[in-house]
């Protein structure tokens, strides 16, 4: 038997355990790495970028490490809407690269970013397991019984576009088994074998390599997502932030994006 202090201690430990365990996770992924040497543009940059930009921006970082070695870039990749949330809550972002104009517009309207510039476009594609075991040929097949479809939540640009694509194809709203919070988790459901088909960006299919197979969506049903990038007004490294934005919009970033399946902005 405990005395009252012992009991209070047990309660306190219980409280901590339940609370700590209850908030033990987050779905936003962040990648942190830095590079160093010397050159003319200085600064440690926090770049908040849409999850679909993960591979292209990571490639670009390797290029910039050679060409602008004083730019110390740290990426935070997540769903664009989650990034908007963090920037609104005062997260220390220097640059924001968004999938879709609406998330960027939220920050423009709030006066939190400088004038954005569109640097790439992307389009949707169906992804299936290699060999296409369920014989998916288009959006209509995703509604078939026995096909486990996973999409993004409509709050995520890719999820919103997917719904629009189904509407353009004159199909009823899809019955997804799960609505993930970014394209990468959606694709993971396919690569883990849990989903038969997902709708993601062409660039995501390309990034997944041989683990998945793409099934194109006809242009008449598809749509183009544009990617705007902007310097965050609260940035304390504006010159470096602008240099990064320029590299992405008109410099070496364009090659990296093209190599990863993104389309030119114009």
């Amino acid at each position: 038997m405990f005395d009252w202090r012992g009991r209070a201690a047990v309660v306190a430990v219980g409280l901590v355990l339940v609370m700590a365990a209850g908030c033990g996770s987050s779905s936003s992924k962040s990648t942190a790495t830095t590079t160093k040497t010397t050159s003319n543009v200085n600064g440690a940059l926090n770049v908040f970028a849409a999850a679909s930009l993960t591979e292209a921006f990571t490639d670009e970082k390797a290029t910039l490490a050679r060409e602008k070695p004083d730019l110390h870039i740290t990426y935070n990749f997540a769903g664009s809407q989650a990034l908007v949330q963090s920037i609104q809550q005062g997260a220390p972002a220097d640059v924001f690269a968004s999938a879709g104009q609406s998330n960027m517009q939220t920050l423009v309207d709030a006066g939190l970013v400088e004038k954005p510039v569109t640097f790439a476009r992307n389009t949707l594609e169906i992804a299936v397991a290699p060999g296409n075991p369920k014989h998916i040929t288009g959006l209509a097949d995703l509604e078939r019984a026995g096909v486990i479809l996973v999409l993004e939540d409509p709050s995520v640009p890719a999820g919103k576009y997917a719904l629009q694509a189904f509407a353009s194809a004159k199909l009823p709203a899809p019955h997804a088994k799960s609505l993930e919070l970014d394209v990468k988790s959606t694709l993971a459901k396919l690569t883990l074998g849990e989903a038969d088909a997902v709708v993601v960006y062409v660039s995501d299919v390309k990034a997944a390599g041989t683990k998945v197979q793409g099934v194109p969506i006809p242009a008449a049903q598809n749509l183009f997502a544009s990617y705007p990038i902007a310097v965050v007004k609260a940035s304390t490294h504006k010159a470096a932030a602008q240099a990064f934005v320029d590299e992405i919009a008109t410099g070496t970033g364009q090659e990296a994006l093209r190599a990863r399946g993104f389309l030119p902005a114009g």
Binding site: M1, F2, A21, G22, G24, S27, K177, S178, L179, E194
Partner: protein, 253 residues
């Protein structure tokens, strides 16, 4: 010094709660709590967490009794294994569940053949909650079995009762308060489960979108006010559980 430390520690827990209360949309709180999406998530959370608690009792109590009463090689290993989810990041638990019970998983590939699907279905949410919450029940109940008077059980054995009969008629009644405490703690943890659920079970309204997932998704949509109200509800439940445990049941420990 000690007082200062204690004050800082207490404030560290109290201030975030004040933050929630500070930004809570009190004037629209009732509408936020009773809108359709919140109610669907709340109902699913209650159903899945109660189911997880029931399963935890059915399987966890025998485990706790064996751990307390039967000396066998590897008992410490089993104890470590069955309390691991308390310290394992829930998202890691979710991935592990995937690799075990997913469609291509170690066991899941056979479950799939007989038509049992966990990911993207209600049982998946229950499984995720059970995985993270059962250790709480096992720990509390095992401690109670240990401190219960084993001589009563021995006496029953010498009088000819079977092992099962001893368990059901002597051991179990003697730890009832701890069983209730363990079950309530287990339920509170299951109700708050997030990481393993979103990783393993997915996110679909009415199927696997429990209240914590709803809170997170709502926040991601930029609806801070709508996220705070269900957060407060979860907070109130947690506090109520701990207050009631303190006064009535945890004394059994």
């Amino acid at each position: 010094m000690a007082i200062a430390g204690a004050t800082i520690a207490t404030l560290f827990f109290a201030v975030p709660l004040l933050g929630l209360l500070w930004r809570a949309p009190w004037s629209s709180a009732w509408e936020q709590l009773t809108n359709h999406e919140t109610l669907v998530a709340l109902r699913l959370s209650l159903e899945t967490s109660l189911a997880a608690t029931a399963l935890a009792v059915v399987f966890g109590v025998p485990l706790a009794w064996v751990q307390a009463r039967v000396a066998y090689p590897g008992r410490r290993l089993v104890r470590a294994l069955t309390t691991l989810p308390m310290v394992l990041p829930p998202v890691v638990g979710g991935i592990a569940l995937f690799l075990a019970f997913g469609r291509l998983g170690l066991v899941g590939q056979y479950l799939d053949k007989v038509g049992v699907h966990l990911p993207f279905h209600v049982p998946g949410a229950i499984a995720a909650e059970l995985f993270v919450s059962m250790p709480f029940l096992v720990l509390v109940v095992e401690a109670a079995f240990r401190s219960a008077d084993q001589r009563l059980e021995d006496a029953a054995r010498t009088l000819g009762a079977s092992r099962f009969s001893v368990f059901r008629r002597v051991a179990l009644p003697s730890i009832r308060p701890a069983l209730v405490a363990g079950a309530v703690l287990c339920w509170a943890r299951a109700l708050g489960e997030f990481g393993a659920t979103i990783t393993f079970a997915g996110n679909l309204q009415g199927k696997t979108q429990t209240l914590p997932l709803f809170v997170y998704v709502t926040l991601e949509r930029g609806e801070l006010a709508a996220a705070i109200v269900p957060s407060l509800l979860l907070l109130v439940i947690s506090v109520a559980v701990l207050v009631s445990l303190r006064d009535r049941w945890l004394s059994a420990l």
